[in-house]
Symmetry: C2
Subunit: 342 residues, 2 copies
DNA sequence: TTGAAAGCGGTACCAT
DNA sequence: ATGGTACCGCTTTCAA
């Protein structure tokens, strides 16, 4: 039993394929009687126009590709959900791929675009290989790409991101107010743009208070929870351990608190810990995590919206270097930070 | 600047389009010289065959759709990652949609299949509407669908799931061994098939030990962390509170422990808590969560593999009711369970 | 308002 | 081994 085609519907309704097509896409360009006739048949057989054929003809897929560093990481799923929020109402579908598997296949991350499978791309990975970036920079591709959360350093793509620097300044200010002077910092992956920004933000705020953050007080090589756990022990050894630990992600912070607890160190009694992201779990850790709230869903939502704008051509093409959209962040004070022990 | 077409490549290489097509898909059916000639041009212009056109012709999209209850829930992202594990090596792409937004659009959850956008469907939502289920039951669709994790009650679709009942029996046995006799249970959504299975498993194991689980000792209406937090208070009020709480998800368990902590109740000193899933976080909560490990990635991986098998026709069609693949679960003992206080 | 027919960009059959 | 060409299913002029 083959699937119904437009021809079958046309025959059954006693009209031409052109009329069926119009009845479906331009209902007002068909007489009421014919339309009813056609729709009846369509309904009866639950006919759905073949998407490939349609795309081929109209040169548009109504599909957008999201490129995620690692689909297994729950951090990104919330952004994806936000993307869906914007895409779904526009009748656009989402194709998801992660850069890990793509690289394994030795496939250009953008081949989907080139193969006309997707109209546009939302990239959550700031570390795309240079040749992919080059492909995306061509005039034909420029308005079909938006970066969300992360972004490639030194390239001018439209992007949506959180105010990472301001976030760390908020975090530092909060700790400073509570009398802390001895800081440590748990960083993410070295080359990562978020690591760079947040670290810079922290250093800046600390410097303003006349506090130096020596390399020996910086640890961490990923945003993962296990890394935070391991780093906790290293950070606290030595003669004069920090009283406050700035973590560049909540996962890092939660792992860190777990490690601290294992050593019998009390949070926030002995040391204060602050995170970044405000993932769902932060409110339920013990103690509940003080953190910098990042609107992940909004990130996705706005990125998708910008992409949609770009695709529909009503993008403001005047600016050669599109300004990034920067979303505000906020401090969420919970139980993992307190006044420094003197 | 339009994208290159096969005609352009053919002209540039001085051959016919047929030859270009062959050089790309059946390299051995073309002479070495011509192939080199063609490939040079292809490479030079980074030509990529239009996917829509190809799909239209070969009647295959090499794309699979995953239907997720809620993309924002990190629980599913790991399954999705597993799906990718199987799909990527096969050169199949993944299209993701969540049933929430689909319903909002009043669209049949399976319209993607009907529109020939995807060759097959992996459904993580056991609660599909009846009409969608009916659509999927047609002979044309039967071998294109696999359920993973959840499954629709009373329908015989191929499915991959964890051994939920055995999981709860493991949990109960563990607690029994530690001398617990007073149990409470935190359930997920009422209609959910996982709630049903796990609850049944718990009741069974409890009954074997001569222990009854009264309705008053059952709480919870979702798998979410916030629900566990709220339920904790309710569960512990009353004259003779439980000494052990069985949670049908880790999120529930973590929320519950958080709530318990807020009330000054010690885990596992006063009450033991056990979860289900073994999400990444479980190892880092305080105390670390004893839980039932479910191989989420494996779930996705095997489901995708079964789908691929079904699509390629080498499915064992003899069985009218395909046997579900049931993955084993294991108990992971950590710090949230201990001997019952007498 | 409706129908006939020309493609959209590939693939694969049939000749050569 | 290669080229010519019908066709995949739908949309969209162009005429009627």
């Amino acid at each position: 039993m083959k699937a119904m085609g437009i021809k079958d519907i046309a025959r059954l309704a006693g009209v031409s394929t052109a009329t069926v097509s119009r009845a479906l896409s331009n209902p007002d360009r068909v007489s009421d009687a014919t339309r009813a006739q056609v729709m009846a048949v369509v309904q009866a057989h639950d006919y759905r126009a073949n998407s490939q054929a349609r795309s081929l003809r109209v040169q548009r897929t109504d599909t957008v590709l999201a490129l995620v560093p690692n689909l297994g990481n729950p951090f990104f799923s919330e952004i994806i959900a936000g993307i869906q929020d914007s895409l779904a109402p526009a009748g656009v579908d989402l194709l998801v791929a992660d850069t890990l598997t793509q690289q394994a296949r030795r496939q250009s991350a953008v081949s989907h675009l080139q193969a006309a499978r997707a109209d546009g791309l939302i990239c959550l990975d700031g570390a795309l290989p240079a040749d992919s970036l080059a492909d995306l920079s061509t005039p034909a591709m420029r308005h079909r790409v938006v970066f969300a959360c992360e972004w490639p350093i030194g390239r001018d793509f439209p992007s949506v991101r959180s105010d990472n620097r301001a976030g760390m300044q908020l975090a530092v200010a909060h700790l400073l107010e509570h009398g802390h002077r001895d800081f440590a910092l748990l960083a993410g992956p070295p080359g990562n743009v978020l690591t760079r920004e947040r670290l810079a933000g922290a250093r800046e705020a600390l410097a303003q208070a006349g506090i130096d953050l020596p390399e020996s007080r910086i640890d961490g090589h990923s945003f993962e929870i296990a890394d935070g756990f391991a780093a906790a022990a290293r950070l606290m050894q030595g003669p004069k351990p920090p009283t406050a630990i700035l973590c560049l992600s909540d996962q890092l912070a939660i792992g860190c608190m777990s490690g601290l607890g294992r050593m019998g160190i009390s949070v926030p009694g002995d040391v204060s810990v602050i995170g970044f992201d405000d993932i769902a779990l932060a409110a339920y850790s013990s103690p509940p995590l003080t953190t910098i709230r990042q609107d992940r869903r909004g990130l996705g939502r706005i990125a998708a919206q910008r992409l949609l704008d770009g695709l529909s051509g009503r993008t403001t093409d005047e600016a050669p270097a599109p300004r990034p959209t920067v979303l505000p962040i906020t401090l969420v004070q919970r139980g993992s930070t307190a006044r420094a022990k003197r």
